[in-house]
Every structure is written in structure tokens, then in C-alpha cells.
Symmetry: C2
Subunit: 210 residues, 2 copies
DNA sequence: TCATTTTATGAACGATAATTCATTTTCTAA
DNA sequence: TTAGAAAATGAATTATCGTTCATAAAATGA
């Protein structure tokens, strides 16, 4: 068993694994976790049912691997953007656009993710589910930090940074959800300015303010 | 069988039905739809398993009846408030407070509802689920109308009223979600002013704006 | 080519849970 | 008090999957 052979085997193994994950993504997105069966995923991936278990320990393991790997990816992108040396406001703007672009590229995944966000069932018991919820929290924390910097530098009003982060994330989720259920497809990125405008300037008419 | 007898029977039937719904609310809120079993609900409600089927056609029927009746209730309250003769801004403020109060009074229910919002599984196939999603849509429509009036009367910036509605609802959901998962209980109503302030005035510091 | 190892397969197993229904319990009213 | 009606019950039925595993197929390398 020489090294080159090992390497190819490994590559092929991972390629098949990715194949299964991609099929699972489509099925889970369409039907949700419980109604999806392992046989359906196997059929969609063109593997035998038993084969899935060579690649994943269980249905839950498959599901969480799927989510975890994508969340890891978007988190890396966002964190990189938030760590840049721009002004806080610039960083918020860039992250917003980045996120909308990523979501647009991963429609199926975000159907799963948005459901997962509000699934209380696992949060307590499952270790796998817990890991994902921790990543969500850490994302809010990173965003809160930038808000705090924005306040410190006089760019943002002196409100609670965590509240600000929740407000922005809430708006984003709402627009993403709307985009996901909309029968008429439109570019999600086109909502970037709207979100930014409402978040930064508010909805009340300027002239009325004192 | 005289009328008075009939009436009492009916009252008792409905009382038991409500008893079951209230037990189901607790169990579904803790574990979600699929992991909850009919026997568990029966045990919690102190009825036999078979008895539940005298009151509800199926598990789904029980679940959707639960959601539908509460959504109906909050929708009635919100619609009443939105139809008042106040200025649009006043109505938005009042609805916000009203909603937070209602949610605070119905914690268990909103754990179910928030999960349900983003469950794509039913939206298409099930008639029962469809009814609920229609009520969500009609709520957004009612809110959009008030936004439109607010713009017409010069109280709000001339943005897309539907976008404005989604932005506000998104922020509300975000704060509700946070409140639901928070281990330390705090009054949700205390967030009313924060939400209102961010939504109306925005997060950007006044002095910086041109 | 062929013996050996690795990988894939899907039928069979076992567990779970929604629903039903024969039986029991409770209620009704004469 | 009691026959008959109505309601409640939970064990039995049935169906559905997640998972396993004995077997088959494919890959390997001599």
C-alpha cells in the first residue's frame, strides 16, 4: 500500500462523502429532518441504503455534518470580513452583502438552516445539535463586538450592542425567509441596501424628528 | 334529552378538549412535533390514549388546532388595534406592545409557533398547515397597509411598505427568539422601546448623518 | 488470470408510535 | 335500582423506518 494509492483512495472516499451530503441537502431541504428517510437519500445519491452507514454513523450524524460544514464555511468568511481594518460601519455593510451572496448561492442549505435555527428539540440533549447552536451564538458575539466598536468610534448610537446585533440579524432572517418562500425568484442581494438603510437610518421620516 | 342537559354535555366536552390542548401545548413546546407521542400527551392530560381520538382526528389535527386557535386569538387582537383611528405610528407602537404582552403570557405556545413559522414541510402539501401560513401572510399584509398609511401621512420614509413590515417583524422575531432561549427570565415587554427606537430612528449616530 | 482484500448492497431485524376497537366504566333517566 | 346509552380505555394492530449484516461485487496486485 504505497502513499500515492492511499491518497487517491482518500480523495475518492471524500468525493463520495460529498456526493451523499449534496443529495441529502436536496432531500432535507424539501422535506425536513424527520420525514426524510435514509432510503430516499440513498436513492437520490445513487447508493445502496447500507452504504450511507460507511460514511456516516447515523441519520443525525449525516444531518449535522451537513449543517456543521456549511456553517463553518460561512462563519470563516464572516469572521474574516469582521476582522478587517475597515471602519465598523464598512465591515457591517460588507458582511451583509457577503451573507446575502452566500445565501443566494446555497438556497437549499438555508431552507434547512432557517428551520434548524428555531428547533428547540436538540438544543438541550444532543451534542451534535449543541455544537451548531454554539456557532450561532458565537456569530452574534462577533457581530456585537463590531457594534460595540461602532459605538466607541461614534458611528453608532449608544444602544446595547447585543440588541443591535439581534435587530440586524432579525431583519436579515426575515428577508431571507421571505426570499426562500417566494415563488417568484429575485436576487436576494438586491435587498442589501434596504436592510442597511432601515437598520442605520430608521423608518421614521427625517423631517418629523426632533 | 332536554336542552339544559345537552348544553352541559357540550360545555364539558369543550372543557376536556381545552384540557387536552393545554397539555399538548406543554409537551409540543418541550419536544417539538415529531418526537412528541400521543401517549405522552394523553399521560400529561390524564386521559387514555384512545380518548384523544374522540376529540381530534389525528396527531396533526391536534397540533394544528392548537396553533390555529391561538393564532386566531392574537390575530383578532392585532387587527382590532390596527383598525383603530390613531395615527399609523401610534398603532404600530400599540401593536408592538400588545404583541410582546401576548407572547409573554403564552411562552409555551410561542416555542411551538416560532418553530412552525420556518417549517417548510407542510406549507405545500397539508391543508391544515396551509391555513396557518395564510394567517401569517394576512398578518404581514395588515401591517404593510398601516406602513403604507404611515408613508401617506408623512410619518414614515417612502420605502416599500412590505419591506418595512418584514423588517419590523424580523426584529420582533429575533427578540422573541432570544427571550425564549434565555435561561435568565426577563420581561419581554422591556424590549418594546428598543425595537421601536431602532426601527424608527435607526442605529447610526445622528450627528454623522447628512 | 486469480486469490485476497476492500467496499457496496438491500433484505431482514427490531423498535417505535399512530391509530383502532373490543371491552370496561360511567352516566342517564325511568 | 337498573337497563341501556355514551364515553373512556389501553392492549393489539399495523405501518414505518433506522440500522445491521451476510452476501455479492469490485478493486488490487502478484
Amino acid at each position: 500500500m504505497e502513499t500515492a494509492g492511499m491518497k487517491r483512495k482518500e480523495r475518492e472516499f471524500l468525493a463520495r462523502r460529498r456526493e451523499i451530503l449534496s443529495a441529502a441537502e436536496r432531500v432535507f431541504a424539501a422535506k425536513g429532518f424527520f420525514p426524510t428517510t435514509m432510503s430516499e437519500i440513498a436513492r437520490e445519491a445513487e447508493f445502496g441504503t447500507g452504504t450511507l452507514y460507511k460514511y456516516f454513523k447515523s441519520k443525525e450524524d449525516l444531518y449535522f455534518s451537513l449543517i456543521d460544514e456549511k456553517v463553518e464555511e460561512i462563519n470563516r468568511l464572516v469572521k474574516a470580513e469582521l476582522d478587517k481594518k475597515n471602519s465598523p460601519l464598512e465591515r457591517i455593510k460588507n458582511v451583509l452583502r457577503l451573507q446575502f451572496e452566500f445565501i443566494e448561492q446555497n438556497r437549499d442549505f438555508f431552507r434547512i438552516y432557517i428551520s434548524e435555527r428555531s428547533r428547540f428539540e436538540w438544543t438541550v440533549k444532543d451534542d451534535l445539535g449543541k455544537g451548531i447552536h454554539e456557532k450561532m451564538v458565537s456569530y452574534i458575539e462577533a457581530l456585537s463586538l463590531v457594534m460595540k466598536q461602532g459605538i466607541g468610534e461614534g458611528e453608532l448610537e449608544a444602544l446595547d450592542p447585543v440588541d443591535l446585533a439581534h435587530a440586524l440579524v432579525g431583519m436579515v432572517n426575515s428577508f431571507v425567509f421571505e426570499w426562500l418562500i417566494s415563488p417568484r425568484p429575485y436576487p436576494l442581494v438586491s435587498k442589501t441596501d434596504t436592510v442597511l438603510k432601515i437598520f442605520l437610518r430608521g423608518a421614521e421620516r427625517m423631517e418629523r424628528r426632533r
